[in-house]
């Protein structure tokens, strides 16, 4: 326990987390500090490209693990199943109607790639290895949750648009395509490819992540300020409970799969985190009656900071203890 706390403290004192805190504080103090939209988007492209490429190169270096397919399948199942848990929980402890509950559930079944990137960074700093293909698992977990959530909303009779383009849009969502594409490029070019571009995607990675988390803090803080009244006690509790429940499912699955300690921690992070990029846009199209501020504030204002500060060190500590590492 004290070990977890000291890990958490070390995590909190990293430039990355403090940059996030700075952004949060600046937003709450109503500072006009902003990262231009184009720059934030550019940094997220950089992070996706780098993490995908490095994952692919790692798989190329260590050979394809027999568990890759199993892990991918497990990711798809988790992403599709967690919205059911989330939906039941949110209906039980809040007064949200079925449409809003389904939209929130979609966010929590899907994943937050920045949380994943931050966790990978922390693992690397602590010298804990993880399976390179976990980025492919992350990509596989983006979309299935949306299907389950729409099914839930439909079942509850929610008005929803039937839109043939939506499925293509979800499957070829920019972040999925870039993550999978750069993973494949890393896999194809391996160590040789990595050597050519590591001064770009390895060395400055953590620094870019700092500036990106600064922006995430600003956005999360502004979202929280704008959402006074949107969040009640029940929804707040959901935003803190659901990541722990998700992490539990991730932990059990990862142990079953026999992943390495780092891999276990990353699957926990994926299950614990909630989407705030791909899913919100899909919900606007498919469930226009759902309140977008609600899901976004929960995912970005409550769950993301929780995972970033306390969640990640907790999941890593548990993963290490339970794999006996």
């Amino acid at each position: 326990m004290s070990e977890i706390l000291s890990l958490a403290a070390a995590n909190l004192l990293s430039p990355m987390i403090l940059s996030f805190v700075l952004g949060l504080a600046a937003a709450l103090a109503r500072s006009d500090l902003t990262v231009p939209e184009a720059v934030a988007k550019g940094m997220s492209l950089y992070l996706l490209f780098a993490i995908g490429f490095k994952g692919g190169a790692a798989v190329a270096a260590h050979g394809v693990d027999g568990r890759l397919i199993a892990a991918l399948l497990a990711g798809v199942v988790l992403s599709a199943a967690l919205p059911l848990v989330a939906y039941a929980l949110i209906r039980a402890i809040t007064r949200l109607g079925p449409t809003d509950a389904a939209a929130v559930a979609a966010h929590y079944g899907s994943i937050s790639i920045v949380t994943f990137v931050t966790a990978s960074s922390v693992l690397q700093a602590q010298g804990i290895a993880a399976e390179g293909y976990m980025v492919a698992v992350a990509a596989a977990m983006e979309a299935p949750a949306i299907l389950t959530a729409l099914w839930l909303a439909n079942r509850a009779g929610a008005e929803r648009d039937n839109d043939p383009d939506l499925w293509r849009e979800i499957a070829f969502n920019g972040s999925i395509v870039l993550l999978v594409g750069s993973f494949l490029i890393g896999l194809a070019t391996g160590e040789t490819g990595l050597a050519k571009i590591d001064a770009f995607i390895v060395a400055p990675f953590q620094g870019v992540l700092c500036l990106f988390l600064l922006d995430m803090g600003l956005v999360a803080g502004r979202g929280l300020k704008g959402a006074r009244g949107v969040l009640g006690g029940g929804t707040l509790a959901f935003g803190l409970l659901m990541p722990l429940i998700g992490a539990g499912f991730g932990l059990a699955t990862a142990l079953l799969l026999g992943l390495s300690p780092g891999g276990v921690a990353l699957l926990m992070v994926l299950c614990a985190s909630a989407s705030y990029i791909a899913v919100p846009a899909a919900m606007r199209v498919a469930l226009p009656a759902a309140n977008p501020a609600l899901s976004l504030t929960l995912a970005l204002g409550i769950t993301f900071p929780f995972n970033l500060t306390l969640g990640i060190p907790l999941y890593i500590a548990l993963a290490q203890t339970l794999t006996g590492a």
Partner: protein, 102 residues
């Protein structure tokens, strides 16, 4: 200079709906429009700015200049898309140069 009566329709709509709106317009035979970026706004669903979002899709403004007799076709097509979505549609009287273009 010779000008011709036209309608100027301005549709402010969520960015994820833009491609659906323009597809509907094209299907209805409206092939002239211009899309402008939007920085933020306020309406029944509250205040938003680009800074308060991550995907930051936000909204866009679509402007159509159209012959008066084609207005209803356009509004029907547009309304079918925006109906259940947030956003506003306004129409003003206008004059255009080069009517053969519309």
């Amino acid at each position: 200079m010779q000008t011709h009566a036209a309608k100027r329709v301005e549709i402010i709509i969520e960015a994820p709906m833009e491609s659906r709106l323009t597809a509907a317009l094209e299907k209805a035979g409206v092939t002239g429009f211009t899309v402008l970026p939007v920085l933020g706004g306020s309406g029944r669903s509250g205040r938003w700015t680009r800074e308060g979002q991550v995907g930051r899709s936000g909204m866009v403004a679509v402007i159509c200049l159209i012959r008066p007799d084609r207005l209803d076709t356009l509004l029907d097509a547009a309304f079918a898309v925006v109906e259940r979505h947030i956003g506003v549609v306004s129409i003003t009287e206008a004059q255009v140069l080069r009517a053969e273009r519309f």
